[in-house]
Structure formats: structure tokens, C-alpha cells
Symmetry: C2
Subunit: 147 residues, 2 copies
């Protein structure tokens, strides 16, 4: 039997969210939280619109998923995000005890790997899923913005 619910399947939806951010003039990052193959949160970066550095895609999805679940821990959940999380988002994910993080493009300057941010010991990480699509979107955004 074919399992349609691959990491690519969900990351495609996160990329769609990133595209929605792009259309609004936001740095194009999209996120999704999934439990038992069900999407319980989806969001995109809104830092410009909201004038709020905390409005990263991941932060919004963490809040929305916890609201949906009625509890603050995201055990059993997977976050899909098009760009490697920053210190703030990785710090929030640490508190959430989320089970799995899947990200697309690496952020070699401000990503949590370079910054040394600690995740929860029970969190597993998968990287590079649809990395090209995610980083192309970022590159296009910054080229457009410089015009």
C-alpha cells in the first residue's frame, strides 16, 4: 500500500504557506504542525504585518497546535517548516517537547544549529526536505526586495 503522508507531502503545504508570506511582502517562511497525519496548525511569517519579531511561522503554529490539543505539550506532533528554526523558535520547540522537526533549507547564519540552541532530548530532526524550493523562494524574495 502506498502511504501518501510522506515528509514531502506535508512540506509541500508548508511551502504553500511560505508563498502566502511572499505575496504579503513577508520573508517567505511557512510552517505546519501535524499529529497522526492530520494538520492541526498552519501559518506563515507575519513579522512585518504585525510589527512583531515573535510572529515567526513556527511560533504561530506552536500556539495554534497547543490550542487545538488543549495542552501546551506537543508530544506526538511533527513541525514542518520551510527554513531552519532560529534560536527563539528552537527555544519554544524545546519547551513544547515536540516529537519531530522537519525543515527545508538550512539557515547557516541564524539557524539553531549554528547558534547552538538546545532542543528537547526527545525531539528528532530531519533536514533538507524540499530545501531547494524553500531556498529558491527566499532568494527570489530578497532579489525582489532589493529592486
Amino acid at each position: 500500500m502506498i502511504n501518501p503522508f510522506t515528509d514531502e507531502y506535508f512540506m509541500k503545504k508548508a511551502v504553500q504557506e511560505a508563498e502566502m508570506a511572499f505575496e504579503k511582502g513577508e520573508i517567505p517562511v511557512g510552517a505546519l504542525i501535524v499529529i497522526d497525519n492530520k494538520v492541526i496548525a498552519r501559518s506563515h511569517n507575519l513579522t512585518e504585518l504585525l510589527h512583531d519579531v515573535t510572529a515567526h511561522a513556527e511560533m504561530q503554529s506552536i500556539t495554534a497546535a497547543a490550542n487545538y490539543l488543549g495542552g501546551k505539550y506537543l508530544i506526538g506532533c511533527t513541525l514542518y517548516v520551510t527554513l531552519e528554526p532560529c534560536q527563539m523558535c528552537a527555544g519554544a520547540l524545546y519547551w513544547s517537547q515536540i516529537s519531530k522537526i522537519v525543515y527545508g533549507a538550512s539557515d547557516e547564519h541564524r539557524g539553531f544549529v549554528k547558534m547552538g540552541t538546545q532542543l528537547h532530548p526527545k525531539t528528532t530532526v530531519v533536514s533538507g526536505i524540499m530545501a531547494n524550493e524553500a531556498s529558491e523562494l527566499m532568494k527570489r524574495f530578497f532579489v525582489e526586495r532589493r529592486k
Copy 2:
């Protein structure tokens, strides 16, 4: 001339916020953001009430201060917080480019110093202001909760 607007002056108000968290059964942490000796945000930890790991006192004050200022950067602002910020909050403060952080008690396990979270290079840090009051409140809270 006496300047009433010392770090202790503002930290006292942050401790009052922490006491409000305590009364609600929340881990007692309070925060304040000040610009030109004017309080533009005050908040306390609401992670239990909101079922949301992102609802730390600092995060709420960062959002509120940016709303007040109409821009996401907190240049010229000082954060007062009763407990040393965690990775998440320090990561948010990094993005905000806040000018000064004043905290009370150290968090030797999960504070940003131990965790190695990077602040913005222009941010200055003062620690230990009303540290006893802040840590006594924390200790009392955990003693109460164990009962």
C-alpha cells in the same frame, strides 16, 4: 536631584507582576518594558492559563511594546524581568534589538547564559537586581505546588 527611576524602581513593578502570576498558579515571572522612563508593557507568565509554552512574560511584553511603538524593533527600550530569560525569550530579544535587559534571579539550568543563546551585539545586560525577592517567590511557588 534624586532620580527615582532606578533599575530597582522598575524591577519592583516586575516583581508585582510575578506575584500576580503566583496568585494564578503560574510560575511567578513578571516583566516590564520601559522607554524614556515610561512603562509601555507589563506582563506575567501565562503558560498554564493559555496552554501555550510561548506565553512567557518576556514574549508578551515584547509583543505589547512593539504594538505600542508601532514597529518591531525595541531600540531605546529596557526589559525588566524577574528571572533570567530562557533560550526562546533571549532569541526573541535578539531579533528585537532591545537596548538593555535587566533581570533579577539567575536561572542556572535553563537561562540563556548557561544555554549559550546569543543576544544582539548592541544589547547590554544587568543582572541580580532584586534577585532575592525574585528567587524567594520562585522557591515559595514550588514549595506550594508540591503540597
